[in-house]
Subunit: 253 residues, 6 copies
């Protein structure tokens, strides 16, 4: 990625952080996962995307936001039967986020944005922000950033089932982090009928416990072979434009 | 409500439960809340609706489901500045659900459906079912049952902001539990501009911590004066038809 | 509102609670259980009795006390081998009570009375009030309300073993909530010799872990067929008179 | 080893324990406290009495019971305003007892008796035995041993308020551990009116949070100057005789 | 009181503690263990040594330190396969220490020294002091007191593997608490090759999970038959001299 | 770093992990921190060093070990007054490690090595391995890898106080990750007298709570201007040679 100005805590000394804190209003905490992404992508996919997208946010919102190190594990029990997947318990993730937020509050930051790349983290992050407001009196928000790019997704995603290791996710990777793509292995998802009607897997509102292999044989959805760097770029740009609007509101109110 | 056949655990002796367990495949756990509902409704609204709707589910799915006592507190910190609201911490609710599920598993039940009436519980229930599958090896699902009636809602809800103490919720109450309505106080929500664009309050995907009084002065959204028993009935019937389809799948797979 | 005046939170809107808080000094929290009560009673017996008795307390002490929703699960592991029983872990109940008390403290209440109907909850409530005083700085008390009616019990209970689904408990139900009685099934307890001398079961002071089926075959003690509404009324009235004395002291000191 | 035969774990090597385990059926765990006992006694009073009484139990029940090291802190928040008192949270004590029981279960013991000298521990011990049965599948009992000597107490205690640093407790100390008595300081309790009727302090069944200085100015109840070694001996002997009966049952069933 | 002047809380009434608190600046908390010590020593060895050594510290530092009751269980999972060993979980010990420190802070003490006799406790104590500083704002230190006597150890220990039930530990016992020695059983450790190079057992820095029987057949290291009271005295004196220096600094800064 | 063969989970798909698991015997988990490192280094220093050193371990021990994603936060409360430092509670880190180990155990791995770069993590890791053995039955080890290079350190470190952002740590960075060095800011540590004799800071064995600014004004020890890539290389090579010996033993036993 680029060498534009951005407050990336991983690259800064305490003297540099001290200076940054004069203008920084929001800490952006990238939250990913370490879980199988079919044959198409390295298991660090969500952690890497959260980190790389957050870097661009850091550039766009400079000098008002600071990007923390990445939370590189997430809630991934439903992928655990695919080798290599690592899952946190929700309560572990909340403890981890609490400690990060408490430390940053000690440094004077009072607003926090969890920048999430993994659907499995959403409920835990929702629970976390409610808990952190109650316990620490901070303001907090979270967003799965791909939800901020509905136009790009509507334009480019043609598969019936998508959302994991599909043309959308591989396109993002082509733009943000091509090194995590297994170029020679790109394959369509081997999607199976999911037996419960009206559940999330069938575009309904019901949530049910499941293992990902009940939904797809090879761990992927959609069609990774349709991925393009252009789609990735459009998605990221649309998402960024929308996110910038929110962060501006978040800083001002 | 009715006197049709339904396995309502609150009304049964252990001998009756023992007999019911010969056919019961799913335990339905009504999950509500105790929180302000503007001038229009008693604070028990969500607990009562969850309980009453579940009773109808019990009748519809008899003798395959059993209805447990209601979880009558929920996650309601955002309503806490309105007198009388009581909120659980998410971890408390999960402990409570774990104990209920563990006890029922001891009696031989292996599938659980949390029937939820309160949006603020969704993330915690999502977290709960993942945790319970991991810890106890059970199958579990949850649904905010109003999400299963999109047609009725589209037809009847005309307000811009809705979802709490609005025409939809009061209509449900007219059909399911008229005793919780403050008939002489029915008032429109005194909705205010919510300052963060793209957040849930503005129909966007971002979640941010807030207090409900930042959104509505009197604690209500929408327009309770537009509520009708007919809308309530249509909503419940549409939801039930959809839910029956899911439960049937849930039992068979 | 109830027939007589009483502040029952389940029936009140936030505006009504706001007004009530001008005179309310004590929150009364009914604490019950969901557990087998032999062939004689529905499993919700303790929750229903705690709720109904508390309503009468609300009337008697109006406008100085407010009655919260009922805690409808208790500590019932010793009944778990009878189908349908649900038990909380003590730590779950304490978390639940802590959240309720914390919410009510936010609304300005500083004194709390746990009104208990189930012997199995006593140790946990004792632990809870000590913990809540230490953590939240509130005043709290608890009482199993039948202990406040020694005269009525001495007069009416003739069985050797009693205290669960016996003539005393069914009499209370006849007076407070006849709908939970299985009128056609009323049966004597099938009491067995309890093998440990000097334990609570043998009227001694030693507490030992046990399963209720070691004490009674059908889950009942005493003789439910001897129950009368009159005994129920006497018990409730005696208890209320005593409790009123305590609450008056509790408010004034 | 002690003067008489007794399996006191504090004095044994692992080889001696290994041999003892061939006959031992019950582990006796002395549970005390470290809290103010007025001017009359050292603050270790409860820990010392639990330990010394347990030693005699060890002799009486040799070779069937083994005495563990003493739990020398208890639940004493109500004494905390008297200098030197140390109190555990109930959850800390339960964790401590769980670890002790788990370790002993590893060595093959399956029955546990908590021998308690302090009223403030009773609810926590009650909670503990229920929790330990549920979690570890062990049998457990607890008793405040002075409750097993009603005759001696009835005969010798004449004070109105007693139960802490009174003639009963000092008499026990005279018999079991005279070194903890402050012989030159023996004083009557400076008892005050306790403002809540029907509470434990006024011989009623209601439990209310309080600080001990609300009940007695100098931290003592009763009249320590009336203590005699004879009373102590009678109390211990009566209690032992009763306890032996229970332990015999406990071993056989 | 003890022979010489020392503030030993176990022996003091609250009136005596109140007076002592006028000069006391540091609470010394003896932390031991209950675990096998080969054929040579009673299992209470570490608890007894921590207690006895602390008494001498109390005399030496009178009237500036106060000695609390002993923590008589420690982290001993690696000894659990030897009969009689009892181990706490690290989190249990931290809860216990937190409660002790919180109580003493209530009495006005702000500096705490955990005086430790058992290597297995060191990591937990290190974790504890960091946690207690963060949570309670107190100053805390810990030391395994034998580490303060390098000269005596270098002079007297000749065995290759030592540190548990060896000539060093039995020498200490000869000086501090001869009653815990099994004089007729004194035996050399039956030490085995520990299979992992560079681990602590082989004088390297790597820590690996293990069971003590992998290191020594009879549970002892070194050579207990070489123990002398003189070595014990030299060790204690050297350690005390060093500790006095630290405590003096700790009080003044 | 290099492109030699190594099983780096961050770069692998589940199919690649599946294949690797045929030969892998040990999971290596890099554990770092995010804390101030004076003016000389980025705050990610410990996380980066743990990650980069572990990669080399992965190459050296290929195909027998697999390297997990890095734990990029550690126990750093003592650095919290320097802007940007983030600290976990010890219990949070243990929960995180437990979840990682549990997931990997699900994939068939039974031996775990925590490769640590930060002194502040040592006690927590020690506690973690004991806890994980007890709870999950796994074998686990941990090492601060610089402790395996005593020769290189003795040869190159000349400063009186060292161990944090000193010539040793900057030399490592020069060899492993030069991008984290602030080349233009390299400065000597501004070390102050630490007031407690015999503590770790004064090369003694006593551990005391402190804030790092009590020890060094600018957050660094030693003399970063003396750092050389050669020292870094020698240190890493010596450490690797020793670690290889341990891992070989760990696999075989």
């Amino acid at each position: 990625m680029s060498k534009k100005n951005a407050y990336l805590m991983e690259e800064m000394s305490w003297l540099e952080v001290e200076e940054a804190l004069e203008t920084v209003k929001v800490a952006v905490i990238p939250v990913g996962a370490h879980e199988q992404h079919g044959p198409n992508l390295a298991e660090s996919c969500d952690a890497v995307r959260a980190r790389e997208y957050s870097k661009v946010v850091g550039e766009r919102m400079y000098p008002k936001v600071m990007i923390t190190p990445t939370v590189n594990f997430g809630i991934s029990f439903h992928h655990l039967n695919f080798p290599g997947t690592i899952s946190l318990l929700p309560e572990t993730m909340i403890s981890l986020l609490r400690d990060i937020v408490k430390s940053l509050k000690h440094h004077g930051i009072e607003k926090f944005l969890f920048l999430n790349s993994h659907g499995g983290n959403e409920a835990t992050l929702d629970t976390a922000i409610v808990t952190l407001k109650e316990e620490l009196g901070v303001k907090a928000a979270h967003i799965k950033y791909t939800l901020l790019a509905p136009e790009a997704i509507k334009k480019h995603v043609k598969s019936d089932s998508s959302g994991h290791s599909c043309e959308r996710e591989v396109s993002e990777a082509l733009y943000l982090a091509p090194e995590i793509i297994k170029q020679d292995e790109l394959t369509q998802g081997e999607v199976k009928d999911f037996p419960y009607s009206l559940t999330m897997q069938n575009k309904g509102p019901i949530k049910v416990t499941y293992d990902f292999e009940e939904w797809t044989e090879n761990g992927a959805l959609g069609d990774a072979t349709k991925a393009t760097k252009e789609f990735g770029k459009e998605l990221v740009e649309e998402s960024l434009t929308n996110l910038e609007e929110f962060i501006t509101d978040f800083i001002e109110n």
